[in-house]
């Protein structure tokens, strides 16, 4: 069984989500409905998008500590410019994606540690967000609002969105040629460069993809909350990193799983609800979330170690 789990790294995230879901339904049987499931998971949609964005960065052996501030900024832009002057709004969002690509170039070209650059950028994004929306406010553009509150028959929006995000990113990163080369950059950048690939451009692409998914996360978040705030998504930084790792990714070596990342995001969102159902005081919830994370990671480590010994 260890071999099975080590070879198919996706099994453990699926199992964790299933166990947590079962526990939640046991605690609160009324959550087992169309409305209940949507409520449990709709806030997971922006988290899933942010997790995918973080995955793009981790895929090329970097880490993004500015993602939460960036998603907050996007939320502010969405609730103000995109609502009032859509053309300008779209331009700003496109500019933000380009800025992310530029960050990738900067980090690779000058061999800067991504952790430092992105930590610095988090203050830049936060500052811009504050100057756009000094106090909570703004309005979600109606089309995003209706998109996020759509009620498909049979399956709730949150589930459809999660499956869609997982499918699209899986195709992009795992199935396409360029996605394979991008993962190769994380695995062995030197050999990718030797095969004639422009690694600088590939890194810019990875960062641009992260920017794109960060923008989508911010827009989705505003669609759910209807208004924005400069600090609305600060916890996304750590949630997204945790989601990637929970979903079977590794910090280095280009080992990432888009489907796993989405499942990881869902698990983290669900863990928060589960702990509320346990009537755990919010003060303890962050710690308990951390405990769940450590538990899953320990399980994974045991499986890979055992497999290594057998193997």
């Amino acid at each position: 069984m260890t071999r099975l789990f080590a070879r198919h790294r996706i099994l453990l995230p699926i199992l964790s989500l299933a166990v947590l879901l079962a526990a939640t339904f046991y605690m609160q049987p009324r959550a087992m409905s169309y409305f209940g499931v949507n409520l449990l998971f709709n806030l997971a949609v922006p988290i899933a998008l942010a997790t995918v964005a973080q995955m793009m960065i981790i895929m090329v052996n970097d880490i993004d500590l500015s993602l939460g501030a960036f998603v907050s900024l996007v939320a502010c832009v969405t609730a103000t410019f995109l609502h009032d002057t859509p053309v300008l709004g779209v331009l700003i969002l496109a500019g933000l994606i380009a800025a992310y690509a530029g960050l990738g170039v900067l980090i690779h070209r000058f061999e800067l540690p991504a952790i430092v650059v992105t930590l610095g950028m988090s203050f830049v994004w936060g500052g811009i967000a504050l100057s756009i929306l000094p106090s909570p406010g703004g309005t979600a553009p109606p089309w995003i609002r209706s998109l996020m509150t759509v009620k498909p028959s049979l399956v709730p929006m949150a589930v459809v969105a999660a499956v869609l995000i997982a499918a699209v990113t899986h195709f992009l990163i795992i199935r396409t040629g360029i996605g394979t080369v991008l993962r190769g950059v994380g695995g062995n950048a030197a050999s990718v460069a030797r095969a004639g690939w422009p690694v600088l451009r590939l890194k810019a692409l990875a960062y641009a993809l992260a920017g794109l998914f960060g923008v989508l996360a911010g827009m989705a978040l505003v669609g759910l909350t209807t208004s924005a705030d400069a600090n609305i998504a600060l916890r996304y930084t750590l949630l997204s990193i945790a989601g990637v790792i929970l979903g079977g990714g590794e910090f280095i070596g280009g080992k990432v799983s888009p489907v796993g990342a989405v499942i990881g995001a869902l698990t983290l969102a669900l863990a928060a609800s589960f702990l509320s159902f346990l009537r755990l005081s919010p003060d303890w919830q962050i710690g308990a979330q951390g405990a769940i994370l450590i538990l899953v990671l320990t399980a994974r480590l045991i499986f890979t170690r055992r497999d290594g010994q057998e193997g």
């Binding site: 070879r7 199935r175 040629g177 394979t180 080369v181 993962r183 190769g184 994380g186 695995g187 062995n188 030197a190 050999s191 990718v192 030797r194 095969a195 004639g196 690939w197 070596g253 280009g254 080992k255 193997g311």
Partner: protein, 480 residues
Amino acid sequence: MNSAKVTGTPLVALTNAEKHFGAVRALDGVSLSIFPGECIGLVGHNGAGKSTLVNLVNGGLMPSAGTVSFPATGAPRALEAGVRSVFQELSLCPNLTVAENLRISHADLTGFGWRTRARAEIRKSLDTVFPDHGIDPNITVDRLTIAERQMVEIAIGFAPRGTQARLVILDEPTSSLDAAIAEQLLAHIRRFCAQGGAVLFISHMMGEIFDVASTIVVMKDGKIVASRPTPDFTRASLVEAMGHVAGPETEKAATSRPAFGADILNSKTGLTASKGEVVGLAGLAGHGQAEALAQLYFEHTSSWRAGKGSDMVFVAGDRGRDGILPLWSILRNTTVSILPQIARRGIVDRAAETRIAAEWKARIGIRTADVTNNILSLSGGNQQKVLFARALASKAPVVVMDDPMRGVDVGTKQDVYAMIRSEAAKGRTFLWYSTETDEVCQCDRVFVFRDEAISAELTGADITEDRILEASFEMQGVDA
């Protein structure tokens, strides 16, 4: 065995190619043409310029002077000319599957269903080179053994990848393969050359070189010193071509080996040393010398107890990685090994620290105005002197040195040799791994490593360049 049938235009032609790294002439005017159907065996000792030559041919480096061209195809770059390299260090992406790794080096593999085509291509190539390989193209590379990874890398090298492999450079391709698999590879090289391909083959296994090469090219000090059809070489003449013919070591042979006491060191790997002896570790780079030293060092030291001085100190060769503390001063870098000895109740004795640093600055000749300057203000050679001072300042009776003279100028080397000699005379034991043969020839005893094991132990007059070369290269299967 294969007689060279040299016809047509060369696949690659180097004319007076030179490559300098700073003041170092890694390649000093090399002219070489490789024709279709040829298999060139490239041999030479450490630092002879083999890797630099390979990197010029495959486009990894640009020549400082002279030209590299690809007349047969007229292509401007090595990649388009069908030049493929299989490197000694494994260069696959471990997180990708075997088929995906082919995609990395085959950029034209695009569009719908590229995975199926990639799988088919790599499977076909593996089947051709290594029949019965048993490697699944869908498995991720990190689940393969080292030998299997090497096989995949070789198969990717020979795969058509949209065009056709014309010249395949194999750098120590058999080092991690067992004999049967290696034989499959050699058979494939012969087939490949018979069909008009060319191979540049680097190996420390002389038997393989004699077996498969049609021409043997010998390099030394950045130059080609011999290039002849294989049948014109014998085992003896090849070793002779690699080394310099009779040198200063003849004087050395005259001085008799001083008598040493019983061995004070005995490691699992078979290294032994007695008090006051300078023991050299030789052989081609990367054949387990550094690992043997590291293992020995860790066996004799503890991560928990620093105590009042352990019985072994380590001098790092890779200064940047495991030598200097780049943010600290010269003084701090020197005294870090002896802090427990000069501390009083856990507080560092600043006066003693300064005294010791000043003493070593004078003794070993560290060229600086002030020892409180940052360590990075020193040249590489002087940084290395600081590392020596750090080791010698301790009372440890055994000093382990991992290729410490890397990138050190001649003057410093002479200073350090003298220091080692005088310390050895006082009863210290040195274990010294060096990639330079003339350094190893100064030792009292030499262990030559090959394939992660000791292949020869030489003492006294036996320590000659020829004997070391002979033991560094696998000579089995060569008719003398």
